[in-house]
């Protein structure tokens, strides 16, 4: 292992303060459930001389997952792009368009063949040969097949890539499916609509650090984030036990922060670390804002967890 001082010096040369860097590494290490002694190794993985290449593809989606990643603060998004990863292709942030953009994709897939991390956002329309979604004249299906083939690992970000998403809801007009189903390649699924950026980053770090996938549940989701049930960890759980329920929005129970089960909360069906990490750096989360959980990190939640305002 490289000496800790050298790692920190290189990080400082990149414009990141030691304090911020160590703070970030500690956070990632704890989200991953690793021992504190792993902090220096996380730091090393994040400060590699040659930045690991990531290719981020957009299929049938809304770009909400990319936006979620923009909200990361450990590291900040400018650090992810300039210092942590080599984001060789990402349509929302990249400078080139058209053929120049396609060249960026082709170059990265060739130069880093077998070494790039593929991150997919969006489902794949399969109906009629995949004609309902195209980029640069190619179907999303063909693009996904080509890109997954030579990837070191394929990480699906968000419910669309993980399980087809909103466009796959009944009657699924375009035959949208998950990336895994469309390509036959096993994927790591960071589910959610959108997922919490801390879970995206922690998964990437885990892979870089340990060189293997994090432990996954039966749905391909990392257990470090999706191993816990929302209802079991909900700060309103005591009200559930006491039989104190919100009956309608804005009522006395709502003002007192009572349980949302009777207005449709899907927390008992849903596995995610929202109660612990919340969103936007711990600012708030749906149940905190008095709104029932809609189960957005469960596959096919648009059909299986709806109607959202009816009790389970």
């Amino acid at each position: 292992m490289e000496h800790k001082e050298e790692v920190l010096e290189r990080i400082e040369a990149k414009g990141v303060s030691r304090r911020d860097f160590v703070k970030y590494c500690t956070l990632v290490t704890s989200v991953l459930g690793l021992a504190p002694s792993m902090v220096p190794r996380v730091a090393e993985a994040m400060a590699a001389k040659q930045r690991p290449t990531a290719i981020w593809l957009h299929f049938a989606e809304c770009t909400g997952c990319s936006e979620a990643l923009l909200r990361t603060t450990y590291p900040w998004i400018d650090e992810v792009v300039l210092e942590v990863l080599n984001v060789a292709y990402h349509e929302t942030i990249m400078a080139p368009s058209g053929e120049a953009a396609e060249k960026s994709l082709h170059d990265a897939m060739t130069q880093y063949k077998g070494k790039y991390i593929l991150i997919c956002e969006g489902g794949i329309p399969m109906k009629d040969g995949g004609v309902y979604g195209k980029v640069g004249g190619k179907t999303m299906l063909d693009i996904a097949k080509a890109a997954t083939k030579d990837a070191l690992a394929t990480i699906c970000v968000g419910n669309c890539a993980c399980s087809g998403g909103v466009q796959a809801a009944k009657p699924n007009p375009t035959g949208a499916v998950s990336v895994e189903k469309a390509t036959g390649v096993k994927t790591i699924n960071i589910n959610g609509c959108p997922p919490n950026p801390i879970n995206i980053i922690a998964t990437v770090v885990h892979y870089l650090l340990l060189g293997k996938l994090p432990a996954l549940d039966a749905k391909g989701r990392p257990l470090f984030a999706y191993g816990m049930n929302i209802h079991d960890n909900c700060p309103r759980r005591a009200h559930y036990e006491a039989g104190e329920f919100v009956k309608k929005f804005g009522d006395e129970g709502a003002m007192k922060g009572w349980c949302l089960a009777e207005v449709g909360c899907k927390g008992p069906n849903t596995f995610n670390n929202c109660p612990q990490v919340m969103f936007n750096d711990g600012t708030n989360w749906p149940i905190g804002a008095g709104h029932p959980c809609i189960g957005c990190s469960e596959p096919n939640f648009w059909d299986e967890q709806s109607p959202f305002y009816q009790p389970i």
């Binding site: 414009g15 990319s66 923009l70 120049a100 195209k134 003002m255 708030n284 709104h291």
Partner: protein
């Protein structure tokens, strides 16, 4: 005449393809084509109406929140359950924060690279850059050491040989006009905003639960009763707002003016300009049906660039045409009666060529968005907007007619951001006043009405957004149609052959180098499209597609 196809167009949301014909260094014809069909309207049929805001919000995650808002307004309208004061104010605060987040992010992350040559920033003198920044505004982190640090960071990045998203840019293009120092300053501000936008998102999460994709709008109001009644939350909102206002006044507005000063000819020659405009208005100051709402930013319709005659919006005059879109042919229909019979996408320049329908107002193709909203407010005499428009025109020494341009669109986005940000503190105080008076209701009472129709119209960062819902007697969605800003702006030709607004805007745009169509991308980006696209070139003699670089 050579045809050029740009596919994918990047730094937008979604999948967009633009085709142009170029003759004598200028665009002479243009086609705008949406390349993805998702079928949300079909998915909504038969569902619980209250689920619609969650589903429609997933139309776009960049302009998150807005579809949830239009959808809940349509449901309010159908249920005749209009929100009490706190519900209305909470919605306005979340919606206002979305404008601040979205507009500034668009300028720096999506639009700036059409004006700013990042590579040129490496050659800048940090001392001169600091002097330039000081002459424009009073913002911390603007010393020569700060700019030198940014430059060093860029150098390290470039020397790594891994250029990531900046590889294959149009660096060195002749229409990058800014001096190296302005490029360095803008790059530093781009990086600064990437960090500050996190706080703009937190503003939304305070009352919206999270960003992206808020989860607080419920029929007749909001769910976030504990948040909106928390003085702590309100104070936190104000604290973030102050930071946003400092950035807008000292960075965003000065940067916009600095960039604009190098492109005055784009204003003078109305490059990228459209003819007709529509805005629904924004931030209701009372609750009720659309026609009875008094909007903080008044809406209106402007025909033939006549600012002296702003007409009231009549939603009955909206139709959607499918003659040139990948849907089965049918008559022009009002959205409340709209159909979604999609067909396979066979691109035909003389026939159907897009998954966007062509919305029309009273038969006119109309531009929607910040420019339309600012023009409507200006024409209606809205004091704050009028003062800001006049200050910008005076600073640049340009006439009001220069607003009908790509540049006018970028300026209007900044003006709109400032007017909204400056008003939000007052809305927080209104919340306090309601609480003092004991008006603590956050959601209206309602009952299922039987069969009912509702419309939810509101301006959002990309322009006029409308949702129409038809609820059946069993309390299920019978029909649902969305007419979104990007459909207005990027929609195709209609049955009469009238071009859509972005198509109209592109005609006449000068192109220095067709293989690097920076100017085209600049105008397309000025509409802040919500669909991703790219560029290829077609030679009409051989029908061969030449691929070209677009940045």
């Amino acid at each position: 005449m050579a045809k050029y196809t740009i596919d994918p167009i990047t730094r937008i949301e979604g999948h967009l393809r633009i085709d142009v014909e170029i003759e004598g260094g200028k665009v002479t014809n243009a086609w705008s084509s949406a390349q993805l069909f998702r079928g949300l309207e079909l998915i909504l049929q038969g569902r619980d109406p209250r689920d619609a805001p969650h589903i429609t919000q997933r139309a776009c995650g960049v302009c998150t929140e807005v579809h949830a808002l239009a959808s809940i307004r349509a449901i309010d309208d159908a249920l005749k359950a209009y929100p009490p004061a706190l519900g209305r104010l909470a919605r306005n605060l979340v919606h206002g924060a979305q404008f601040v987040h979205d507009h500034i992010t668009h300028f720096y992350a999506l639009h700036a690279l059409d004006f700013v040559d990042v590579v040129s920033a490496l050659k800048a003198d940090p001392k001169k850059t600091a002097a330039l920044a000081e002459s424009l505004g009073n913002y911390p982190k603007s010393g020569s050491a700060d700019f030198k640090a940014v430059q060093e960071r860029l150098k390290t990045f470039v020397e790594s040989g891994q250029l990531g998203p900046f590889a294959n840019g149009y660096w060195g293009h002749p229409d990058y006009r800014l001096p190296a120092e302005a490029n360095l300053m803008a790059t530093a501000h781009y990086l600064e905003w990437l960090r500050l936008q996190v706080k703009a998102a937190r503003m939304m999460a305070l009352f919206g639960a999270k960003n992206p994709h808020v989860q607080t709008y419920v029929a007749g109001g909001v769910s976030c009763v504990q948040d909106i009644l928390s003085v702590d939350r309100l104070a936190e909102f104000l604290y973030y707002l102050k930071e946003m206002q400092a950035f807008i006044d000292n960075v965003y507005l000065p940067d916009l003016l600095a960039v604009a000063s190098f492109y005055k000819d784009w204003g003078a020659n109305n490059i990228g300009g459209c003819t007709n405009f529509l805005a629904y208005g924004n931030f209701p100051q009372n609750s009720g049906a659309f026609a009875s709402e008094k909007m903080f930013l008044p809406g209106g319709v402007i025909a033939k660039r006549d600012l002296s005659k702003v007409m009231a919006v009549d939603p009955a005059k909206i139709t959607e045409e499918v003659k040139r879109a990948w849907y089965s042919d049918g008559p022009a229909l009002h959205p409340s009666k709209g159909e979604t019979k999609f067909i396979k996408p066979d691109y035909d320049y003389d026939g159907k060529y897009s998954y966007f329908k062509a919305p029309r107002y009273d038969g006119m193709a109309v531009e929607v968005g910040p420019l339309a909203q600012v023009l409507a407010a200006y024409g209606n005499g809205h004091a704050q907007t009028k003062a800001m428009v006049e200050a910008v025109l005076k600073h640049l020494s340009i006439p009001a007619t220069a607003l009908f341009s790509t540049l006018g669109r970028a300026a209007a986005r900044c003006i709109e951001t400032k007017v909204i940000a400056d008003a939000m503190g007052g809305w927080v105080m209104e919340v306090i006043e309601e609480v003092k008076k004991g008006n603590l209701a956050t959601a209206a009472e309602w009952k299922w009405p039987g069969e009912a129709m509702g419309a939810g119209l509101i301006d959002v960062p990309r322009g006029a957004l409308g949702h129409w819902i038809h609820i059946d007697a069993k309390n299920k969605i019978q029909n649902y149609q969305l007419v979104v800003p990007s459909t207005w702006n990027l929609g195709p030709r209609d049955a009469k052959g009238q071009l859509g607004p972005v198509e109209e805007a592109l005609v006449g745009t000068p192109v220095a180098d067709p293989k690097r169509p920076l100017e085209i991308i600049r105008t397309v980006h000025s509409f802040d499209p919500c669909i991703a696209c790219g560029v290829h070139v077609i030679d009409p003699q051989t029908n061969q597609v030449h691929k070209i670089k677009v940045l």
